[in-house]
């Protein structure tokens, strides 16, 4: 056998393990036990997948609600009477609507006047205390356009309504009165007078308090019920680019003498807040995901401890080949971390898939928050590191003489 001369090394070196080699070693360690690695990664995948799905589904729902709100318009503003600093109730001046109508960037406006003296009954035979909590409001023909709502059946108050006792029902009022359509000559008892029902509105999403009202025209209300000239609410659409500016000027415009007695609100804000609340992940579901994750982490600890016991001779060999205790513990930490990180990535795919299925069946937009894309693998990796601490410490404590045992 030809034996080239070898010159023994003279230097005394330190034991080193470059990071790339560390992860290569860890990957090789995992790939020799593929099925076991896959099963223990699955535990983490299910936990992370559940969490991603919860976050994804609620984000999709939220995105859907927000797009519905956007369709309704976020430029609707409401002006209502408020209180002065001294706590006195202030009515809106009768000039308020005309003043607001003259503002710049106001696209459409309508006032609503409460008719406090009138109750609505299906017939006069209904006992007078069973009002059904239906209010009566006088308003103009522009209400449906300003509120972004259409009639479900019939038509809204038009020019003729100013002369005749005609009424339009809000969606909820119609339900209480058990009226579903306006075919034929349908009458209700409104303030002891027969009113003809000419239309029923769809639900008004931007201000659902309006749904329980019955609407009559302002001239009829003034003539029959002698209501005052002070509006109870004014609704207006601002130019979308000037909502903030218009909103700020509304109070002094509506009531220049007592602007502090005027409330201005933006109904879409409340809806957006509600959408955001609906978009919040259900704590219970997240908790379940967390439990799955915990079980997965324990599974990894378990499998890594078994692995350490099985690989005693490999660990002994590595120690004999010059691995420090730290190298051994890092190897097992890296294996555990990679295992769980693979589980995290798989879980992300599972969760995104579940969200996709949910979103497509509900016809909602598919949304998985960007942070989940980063958080899922990182969370897996960190869980793996934590789960690996104990097995790695055990591996490092094994004696280097293990390799000498046969």
């Amino acid at each position: 056998m030809s034996v080239p001369a070898t010159v023994p090394r003279a230097r005394i070196g330190i034991a080193r393990l470059p990071v790339r080699e560390l992860f290569g070693t860890a990957l090789a360690g995992l790939s020799t036990r593929r099925l076991r690695a896959a099963l223990s990664a699955l535990g983490i995948a299910i936990g992370i997948g559940a969490m991603v799905a919860v976050v994804g589904v609620s984000s999709s729902t939220q995105a859907n609600l927000l797009s519905e709100i956007d369709a309704l318009g976020t430029n609707l503003l409401t002006v209502t009477p408020g209180q002065t600093f001294s706590g006195n109730n202030v009515a809106l001046p009768h000039t308020a609507l005309a003043m607001i109508a003259h503002m710049q960037h106001v696209a459409g406006d309508v006032a609503v006047y409460q008719v406090p003296s009138a109750n609505v009954y299906r017939t006069p035979l209904v006992p007078s205390d069973q009002t059904g909590a239906i209010g009566v409001d006088a308003t103009g023909a522009r209400l449906p356009r300003v509120m972004g709502v259409s009639v479900a059946t019939g038509h809204f108050l038009n020019a003729i309504a100013g002369r005749y006792p005609e009424a339009v029902l809000g969606a909820e009022a119609a339900q209480v009165l058990q009226i579903t359509h306006v075919a034929g000559h349908l009458l209700i008892d409104l303030g002891n007078t027969w009113f003809s029902v000419v239309g029923i509105l769809h639900p008004i999403l931007l201000d659902s308090t309006l749904d329980s009202n019955v609407y009559i025209s302002l001239p009829v209300a003034q003539r029959m019920f002698h209501i005052g000239a002070n509006p109870s609410e004014i609704y207006l659409r601002a130019n979308v680019n000037h909502v903030g500016g218009v909103s700020g000027l509304l109070a002094p415009t509506a009531d220049p003498q007592q602007p502090e007695g005027v409330n201005v609100s933006r109904p879409s804000d409340a809806l957006e807040a509600r959408a955001a609340a609906k978009g919040q992940f259900t704590t219970l579901l997240l908790g379940l995901g967390g439990v799955a994750l915990l079980v997965g982490a324990i599974g990894i600890i378990n499998i890594m401890v078994i692995s350490v016991l099985e690989r005693r001779s490999e660990i002994g060999l590595r120690r004999a080949l010059g691995a420090t205790r730290r190298h051994i513990s890092l190897q097992f930490l890296a294996e555990s971390a990679m295992l769980a990180a693979i589980g995290g990535v798989t879980g992300l795919a599972l969760g995104a898939g579940a969200t996709q299925i949910y979103a497509s069946t509900k016809h909602e937009p598919f949304v998985v928050p960007l942070y989940a894309l980063i958080a899922a693998p990182v969370a897996g990796f960190l869980i793996g590191v934590v789960a690996g601490i104990y097995p790695a410490a055990r591996a490092a404590q094994l004696s280097p003489t293990e390799a000498l045992r046969t």
Binding site: T6, P8, R11, G13, S313, R319, G322, R325, T401
Partner: protein
């Protein structure tokens, strides 16, 4: 003997295990650079313990151990690991090859903890495998090799980093006599390059080939014979 010429020095080394079992009861020995020493003795006489202490796999309970002049007792775990990574090559009775790795990767693993880059380690591994006559078997996995060939891979792993000291624990114990003779011949040839060789054996014919033989009994060296 000059300290620079001493590869291994043990003085009054005692190794006791928990429970009071003494595996070594005061062993003193010096092994010079390039020396080839066979250790013989019955089972339980302390051969493997002495080898583990020489190879810094274990620390002595008392006494002094110097490996190439370095005091083992004073060295940290990482220091000793560095010593093993660069200067000591082990050959085991059970080979301890990684079944999933090819011959060349098993040999390259032997240099993993030197911190040398993979390319360099594989080059050294190829060279070492050629030296042990396994040039044509570089990419075979252990299961595809015979017992003798496996032990030759293990020897290549021990020598690839060109250690100063090679320690072998019953390297022929699992081999038939022909393979055993081949492995022994190989070890002699390698040590001729200047590395110190310590070898434990049961086999009198293997021991007879060594210029120096230590006879152990009950944790003591009872005979130190130089031919």
């Amino acid at each position: 003997m000059n300290a620079n010429d001493t590869a291994l020095a043990l003085r009054d080394v005692v190794k006791e295990y928990p429970g009071g079992v003494a595996a070594l009861r005061g062993v003193s020995i010096e092994i010079g650079r390039g020396e080839q020493v066979a250790v013989v003795g019955p089972s339980g006489s302390g051969k493997t313990t002495m080898l583990a202490i020489m190879g810094t796999l274990e620390r002595a309970s008392s006494g002094e151990v110097r490996v190439r002049g370095r005091d083992v007792a004073a060295a940290s775990d990482a220091d000793l690991a560095g010593l093993r990574a660069h200067e000591i090559g082990f050959v085991f009775q059970a080979f301890h090859l990684q079944d999933t790795m090819t011959a060349i990767d098993n040999v390259a693993l032997g240099m993993l903890y030197t911190g040398d880059p993979l390319k360099l380690r594989r080059e050294a591994a190829r060279e070492a495998l050629e030296r042990v006559g396994l040039g044509p078997r570089l990419h075979f996995k252990p299961k595809q090799l015979s017992g003798g060939e496996r032990q030759r891979v293990a020897i290549a792993r021990a020598i690839a980093k060109r250690p100063m000291i090679i320690l072998a624990d019953e390297p022929t114990g699992n081999l038939d006599s022909a393979s055993g003779a081949e492995v022994t011949r190989l070890l002699h040839g390698l040590a001729d390059d200047g590395a110190t060789l310590g070898l434990i054996t049961h086999d009198e014919t293997v021991a007879a080939g060594f210029p120096r033989r230590l006879q152990m009994h009950d944790g003591e060296i009872v005979a130190d014979v130089s031919a």
